[in-house]
Point group: C2
Chain length 258, copies 2
Amino acid sequence: MGTTQLESVQEPKYWHLKTVLSEALDSDFAVGEILPNERDLAARFGVARATLRQALEQLELEGRLQRRRGVGTTVAPPRVGVAVAAVQHDWADGGGTDEAWQPVECTTATAPASVAALLDIVADAPVHVVRRIRLTHGQSVAAELLYVPTSSVPELSAIDVPSGPARARSVLRELHRRGLDGQDRSVELGSARADDAKELDRLPGAPVLVVTTRYFAAPGTVAVSVATYRADTCRLTFGDSGALEISHDEQVETRQAS
Amino acid sequence: MGTTQLESVQEPKYWHLKTVLSEALDSDFAVGEILPNERDLAARFGVARATLRQALEQLELEGRLQRRRGVGTTVAPPRVGVAVAAVQHDWADGGGTDEAWQPVECTTATAPASVAALLDIVADAPVHVVRRIRLTHGQSVAAELLYVPTSSVPELSAIDVPSGPARARSVLRELHRRGLDGQDRSVELGSARADDAKELDRLPGAPVLVVTTRYFAAPGTVAVSVATYRADTCRLTFGDSGALEISHDEQVETRQAS
């Protein structure tokens, strides 16, 4: 991890402890190993338990530790790099690869006001709401609600089943037929809704990265996706024209330079 | 905000309260307004104070509330959309626009191991470390360490001053002369280092979005940036080929659809 390059600011005690702990995690502990209890750790590093707890919280925020009720504090595996930009371009579900968005449900409803504004539709216009779960290496890393105005997929067969994964796949197929002119997205911190938390094996309210994507096809926005990524285990990656993604081999090394 | 579209999961009490509070914030409170104290709020909504506190924490995570010592809990302004993709392409400092990266310091040091690996240099190779602060509408929204191997800017004058903002500008100018073939980046949750926290007017350890960017120019990686964005006030935006960024007018509406 190295040390801070610019040493002009005095760091609080728990911050220094965090750095020391972080190095100890690298050298003395294996991924998945359970840490000693707080009393023993505090004694080992010669700090108050309150200081220790603050340092542990920081390390949890940075994805180095996981704290689970009934298990204790364990050393977290490195965050998984999850490519955000290109995957959904063809609305496919991964075609049997290890990387897949699985459609799990589809309903027809009205969109939340915020989503209706992004779609540029009136607030009570009907939209298909496709729910998908993103799997990476067999783990759920994201839960998504994809909002598709009924006007975006006019060819959708009315005789289909009205809901369920099969309906979701029909909506995605129609979107795919329309093609895509572009997309933009935003990333912000959020807290997991109860339904998302359940899918992601987190408690409701756990920190998540919320990725909001607008999909464009002439003459306007054809769909909006609100995807909730686990913030503890995911590092979102964005490639650029011609550039390579940060590779899996390197991701172990790409924690926050601290 | 609307309600959850798929009601299959029972939500805990604080979550329901969060939704109710969120609607109350929209209708009854102005940005910057101080909320009643916890006792009064708990009484008003008929909940235990522990439940109230959990709901307030959620709203803080989502950027709806700010809690400051000595002030109390205030209604937060909408998050600011901050474009991440294109701004640094020419290494310019914004040219007098409202949107700028300000170089504040430059030192020569060795990079943290994680950064050296991304740069594909040996661990003890010297790098220029440029520190920049990003301003949006006059506010510091991000603090960055830009690591530039000395081999990336061989033409850099040795007779320059060895550190300070002027040196930082020289390094950026040399990078600009080299041009850029591409970039990739990752976004993850982190906690603010003490020096960054000070620049960003946050407490050390506050949640931040850490954006790690690799800059490519033949034959390899010429620089790596580790930028720390305030997670409470920033929404990072990413445009795509030909697509418009989510505009400022709409950003008020693009909170997490909850």
